[in-house]
Every structure is written in structure tokens, then in C-alpha cells.
């Protein structure tokens, strides 16, 4: 191994293509986002340099704060729902005594492979205020809880978040299940001999050993929530009014509807910073204590 890492040419040959592609496809566009956010620009031509005016305007815009709030609500809902449900279901499915484990393993993952458009159409029907499944369900059980799920300015964002949470829970489920599978059964057997209940065993063995998996799950759900766009684009077009705008939707609306690309890119720059901040915070929270073994 030492010999391999000593070969600088090999390292260069193997990493350079990736670095070039990454720089061209990711790093360069991100720098352009920050650079162009300093311009008054309509997406065509060169625009005029206005320094930080777009950012000053952004911090004076109610819509910016509403979009951020919605992004965080969205992130919080999908994170809590997905991690909790995925954990519970993964533990259940990994239990040897459970019947039909294969069926459930596949069933929970099916929404992930569906197109977002299909899922949104499905939930549009479920949320329909007249004939939707949800309102019908409340009627059937005798509850007078008929709602306009997507037409309510205060609650539309919650309804949309549930759609994303439902669809991508299966992805987190697969990751956590794979993590559980990698834990040697001898750990659980030892815990059983020591008199631990299954809950205690999972709390003391499964959770700590899945720390890295949870970190990854948290990263995807938090950043995915902050930059949510597709569901609100398909289901509500950011509405009613602007009530389900997220920062990404605001960026889209500013750039492509108002032709204010500079302003839209300022929103995008903040979005990039928010995602980076979330990654840093999560990495800090999950920072591993150095162990005697060296890792």
C-alpha cells in the first residue's frame, strides 16, 4: 500500500480525470453563481456589475425569509419522518422472526424508483379536497376534518413535505438496513446473554455502530430538504401565491419568470452556503472521538 501511495504519477493519472470533470461540472458553475450574483443580469448578455446590491435586496425581501422558513420546515419534516420510519422499519425487517421480510423490503423501496412526477400526481389525487383519499378517509371514520390540503397558505408546505418524506423514506431504509446487516450477529447474541432486551440491544449496539450511516442519511435529507423544488413546482407552482416557495423555487422564479438572473443567483449563492453550513454542522455533530485502536 505504501508503495502505491508513493507512486505520485499513478495518483495523478487516477485522480486527474475526476478532478477535471468535477472542476468543470461543479466547481466552475458554483464560482459562476457567486460571480454572477454580483450583477444585474437578465440571463443574456453580460449584465452590469452592482456589487452586493442583490444580496442587500435579498435580505430586505419577505419572500426570501418565507422561502428559507419553508426550506427548513421541509427539511425538518422529511428528516424526522424518514430517519424515524426508516430505522423502525429496517430494524423490523432485519428481525429474523419476521415473516414476509423480502416482501416488505421491496415494498418500502418501491416509491424510490417511481418518477417524482408520478408520485406528485398520486398525492395530488390523495389531497384533492372533493374526492381525495385523505378527506374521504376522515369522512369514513366520522371525523369532520375536511381540508384543502394544498390550497391552504399555512399548511401547504407540510402537505408537500409529506410527499417527499414518503417517497424517499425507502432510500434511507435501504441504507440503514444495509448498515444493520453489516453488524455481526455475535454482538446481539452477547447482549442477549448479558440479559439485554431487543430495544436495549438496538440502542446500545445498532445505533452507535450506524453512526456513519446516520450521518450520511442526515446529510441527504437535510440538504435535500433545504434545496427542495420539484414537488412544489409540480403540485402547487409555489402557491397558493408564494406560500410554498423554497429558496430554489425563489431562484427559479427570479431567474426564469422575472428575468432577474442576478437576483436569482444571489438566492442560489445563499442556498449553496446554507447547504455547506448544514454539512459542516452535521460533520461536527457526528465527529468521531479518536479511539485507542487508532481510528
Amino acid at each position: 500500500m505504501k508503495k502505491f501511495f508513493g507512486n505520485k504519477l499513478a495518483i495523478l493519472v487516477f485522480t486527474l480525470p475526476t478532478l477535471i470533470i468535477f472542476s468543470l461540472m461543479v466547481f466552475y458553475p458554483i464560482t459562476q453563481v457567486f460571480y454572477k450574483s454580483l450583477f444585474k443580469w437578465n440571463g443574456l448578455g453580460s449584465g452590469s456589475f452592482i456589487a452586493f446590491d442583490n444580496f442587500l435586496r435579498l435580505f430586505d425581501d419577505k419572500l426570501f425569509f418565507l422561502s428559507n422558513k419553508n426550506g427548513f420546515i421541509f427539511a425538518a419534516i422529511i428528516t424526522v419522518f424518514q430517519l424515524l420510519m426508516a430505522t423502525v422499519l429496517a430494524i423490523a425487517v432485519s428481525t429474523l422472526k419476521m415473516k414476509g421480510r423480502n416482501f416488505f423490503r421491496i415494498a418500502y423501496f418501491i416509491p424510490v424508483v417511481l418518477s417524482v412526477t408520478v408520485v406528485c400526481q398520486l398525492w395530488l389525487s390523495i389531497y384533492n379536497s372533493d374526492y381525495g383519499l385523505l378527506n374521504r378517509f376522515f369522512e369514513t371514520i366520522g371525523l369532520d376534518y375536511r381540508q384543502n390540503w394544498l390550497a391552504d397558505r399555512k399548511h401547504a408546505i407540510y402537505a408537500i413535505a409529506i410527499v417527499n418524506a414518503w417517497q424517499w423514506m425507502g432510500y434511507q431504509f435501504a441504507l440503514i438496513l444495509a448498515g444493520i446487516k453489516s453488524i455481526p450477529t455475535s454482538f446481539y447474541e452477547a447482549a442477549q446473554i448479558d440479559g439485554a432486551t431487543p430495544v436495549q440491544a438496538h440502542m446500545k449496539i445498532t445505533m452507535p455502530l450506524l453512526k456513519e450511516t446516520y450521518k450520511f442519511c442526515l446529510l441527504i435529507s437535510v440538504t435535500g430538504g433545504i434545496k427542495a423544488f420539484t414537488e412544489m413546482f409540480i403540485m402547487t407552482s409555489g402557491g397558493p401565491g408564494t406560500s410554498s416557495y423554497t429558496l430554489t423555487y425563489m431562484m427559479y422564479s427570479s431567474a426564469f419568470r422575472s428575468n432577474e438572473f442576478g437576483y436569482g443567483l444571489a438566492a442560489a449563492a445563499i442556498l449553496v452556503l446554507e447547504c455547506l453550513m448544514a454539512i459542516l454542522v452535521i460533520n461536527f455533530v457526528f465527529k468521531s472521538e479518536p479511539t485507542v485502536g487508532g481510528e
Binding site: 443574456l44 409555489g238 401565491g241 428575468n259
Partner: protein, 445 residues
Amino acid sequence: MKKLTALLLIFTLLLFSVVGCSSDNSKTEETTAAAVTTAETQPESTEAEMVTLKIYAQYSDDDTKIPYDYAVVELAKDYPNVKLELDIQAQDDGVKLQTYAATGNLPDIFQVGLSQIETFKESGNIMILDDAAKSTGFLDRAVPSASNIIYNEDGHIYAFPYAGNELVLWYYNKALFEQYNVKVPETYEELLTAINTFNENDIIPMSIFAKEKWITTAMYDVLATRFDSDGIAKLDAGKGKASDEAYAKAAETLNELVKAGMFADGATNTNYDQAASLFYEGKAAMFLNGQWEIQAATDKLGENADWMWYPVMPGYENNKFALSGGGAPGGYAVNPKSEHKELAAEVAAYISEKYCEAKYMYRGNPILAVKVNESIKPETPFPAMMEKLDNELSNITSTTKFAWGLGNPLFKVAIEDQSQFLMTEDYTPAEFIEELDKVIERMNQ
């Protein structure tokens, strides 16, 4: 065996990927076959003479497919050496067209609205068509009343309009009004009475596809014209504020109507198909849409379909004949960097005229941008509603603009978002006014 199967699967996947990613012209031609006309059947032309023009146009429903297909067939007769390659316009707020322009890939001919004309003008992505309009005779055949949709504010022509001035019509189901003994409302008071009566009988007073923000803009505009005949066009031009009496009253009225139950629950999440079916199935008494709905309404409801003048507000009787809608410059534009820009301009003018013919013949629409040859007759008599509109045209005192005809994109987005917000019960007119005034202030800076 497993390895062999895996290898085979990978190979198949790669093969499909390669085939899928390859740019096979024959496939492109196949997908656009319905809309492509070639002169291959013309014996006198050869492949070498063929000119292919890329065109970006709407092609999604009868109102857009029928005129396009007709224009293509006619083009093949008069321009046998021209082949059109259709790129179907996406309903994406102009994102695709903007991206084409930004990357230097604009098609030779493209459909464009006013706000994009303004953007493309600044960046040199749209051709001035003044000369082509004269040389092709387009201007000679243009209807005088269509000058507002032909000429831009700067006096130039940037697009050939393929429709006339269109209006927002307030449709109603005569049978339902008769059944529940409701007078067709001419005043606001009568409108409120109608709303109450229909609600008491489980009929939705008005169905509206408020998921689309242009129709909520139209609804607000309809009410704004009750107080100020210029409607939202005045705000778009920066000549008024949302806090002005007329516009504030319009916002309050819309809020009152929402609270009175004029629209169905969850209207802001209702699409066109849902709203239209409520109206056509007799579950809704009134329906708001452009005049292009006349044909469909006649087909579905027959003699029971009609349109009414918008109800009048007390003290504003002079605005009775002010209508929402109207035209704005837009239509088929030409890419100035096109290899065949002169020919493209000629073809754009030709297609626009043929659209008008098709709308006259097959869509029951006599209100067009250009005069149709007298020898051309409509396939079926014009619907009674269209005859009525044609007869009443001279009574119309003013028109405003559709959302897509608004010149300032900042205002367009703001009024679309805010008017949809007003369709929800708990959004106050004060919030509407505050948000809109902020944008208008910014527009005027």
C-alpha cells in the same frame, strides 16, 4: 453462469444507452412527423434545394395543433423547398427559449410574448421584421384594430401575430340560471344574490382553474376594470399603484367574493380540466376563460352556453363595457442569427396568416390579426357566442392585457402570485396591496 448473465445485462444496458444517446436524425424526423412537411413529393425540387427551418411553437391542443397543421400543409404548396422542423413549445415560463437564446441555439422561427421580446431586444436575439412585414404584404392584409399586437412600443415589428385581440369572457350556463330562477347578474348586488342562491343549491357559482396563475390575474383584472377601465395594464405601465382606490377596491371585492363562496373549495389547486368539467357537467354556473373557450363551450353545452358582460359596481356604470384581456405584441419571431433569416421572416409571416385562416375556418374565430380571403368560408357557422361577441365589439370601450401580454416581468410575476394569494380566504387585501406596491415601486426606480 451468474457472471455471464451479469455481463450480458451490462452489455445490453450499454447498447441501449448508446442507442438512446445517439442523435439519429431519422428518429427526430419520426417524432415530428406529424408536424413536418417536406417537398419530397414535389418532383421538381431536389434535396439540394431543400431548406430546413427550425420552428418553436405551441402544439398541445386543438387550438394550437389545428392551425399549425393547416399552416404546414399550406406551406408545402407555396414553399415546396421549405421544410419545418417543429420543436414543441414547453409550458415552462419561457425557460427553454431563454436557454436557447443564452446558448446561441435559438430556432429560426419561434413564438414569443411581450416580456421576452423586451429581453431579446436588449441582447440582439430577435429580428426587426418591419421590412418583411411590408415586402410580404402582411401589413396590407393586417386588420387596423390589430396594430396594438403588431407594433411594439418602440414602433418596430418583432413578431407576426397569429391571433387577434382576445378577451377574457365570463361564461355562464343558461340552463342553471333558469333552473334556479337566478337573474344573470348585471350588478355586484345581483352577483352576490346569484352566489348565495347557487351555494344554497349546492352549485358552485364559478369554476376557475386558479392553479394557473394567469387566470387569477385575469379574475383580479376583471374586477379592476370595474373601477378603472385600464385594469392591470395601468399598473404594468407603472402609472398606478395597488393602493390606488380602484385597485384597492378590486382587491377587497375579490376577497369578498372568495368569502361569499363564489369559487369552489381548493380553487387554487384546480387545473383547467377539473374546472372546465365542473362547468360542463352542470356543477358550476359560471366559468372564466379567454374567448377561445367559445368553441368548446358551444360543443359541450350547446345553446345553454353564453357569456355576460362583467357585473357593474355601483357608481362605476361607465366601465360596464371595459373588458379584461386584449392583445400585446407577440407571435412568430425570427432569429437574427439564422442562416436563412430572410426566408425565415417570410415563412413566419406566411404561417401567421395561415394560422388566422385556420382559426377562421376551423375554430370559429373571426377576430383575427389579418383579413382572411373572402373566398375562405368557415367550416361550420360561427357559434352564437362568437356572433354575439363580433356584434358587440364596437361597444367595447377599452381592453387591458392578459398576463402574458404584460411588458414588465417583475410586475407579471408579482400580480400572478399575489392574485392567486387573494383567492385564498385568509389572505388580506392589505397584504396584497403592500406586496404589489413594493414591486411597483421597484419597477419605477
